[in-house]
Symmetry: C2
Subunit: 104 residues, 2 copies
Amino acid sequence: MYGRFGKIKTHPGKRDEMVEILLRAADGLSEFEGCYLYVVNKDKTDPDTIWVMEAWRSQDDHRASLALAETQAMIANARPLIADLSGGMEFNPVGGKGLTDMTD
Amino acid sequence: MYGRFGKIKTHPGKRDEMVEILLRAADGLSEFEGCYLYVVNKDKTDPDTIWVMEAWRSQDDHRASLALAETQAMIANARPLIADLSGGMEFNPVGGKGLTDMTD
């Protein structure tokens, strides 16, 4: 499994718009079987920061999702809202509640 | 909703043992309806670091889980393995794949 925890800092006041784009992206991944989790979170203290927690069957599945036409359109819509994408990280999901059901 | 991304650094060589404890904790939460996600991840570069991504219906649900006898026993088992717990964060989950199903 392949996991990501990505930080997205938007331009001031653009977080809600970005959240909507990301929730639509998550909806678009609902039938993508290589994606186990794509959870959108608002930072508690910075009003312009979003954290996306992702778990994928493999890094190749994540790469394949980036090539989808829907993903490319989402990225094009999102780009003007984004101020900074640094500060994320990758890890290896092992299991747990919310993940076990998908990998059994 | 209430979210946490917790960093656990174990004493050298103790990560696998800690992962097993956390997976049992996640299993114990399977019927706890206030817990939506409890996902255990291994850091990709530090062999002694674990990240736990959690989503709860509310912060009160998280607090209630800490009071469970099973949780207290888990914490007692885990404590000798832990070197450091700093470096985590809290946030507000909004939705997304893996979360929507539980909150609809």
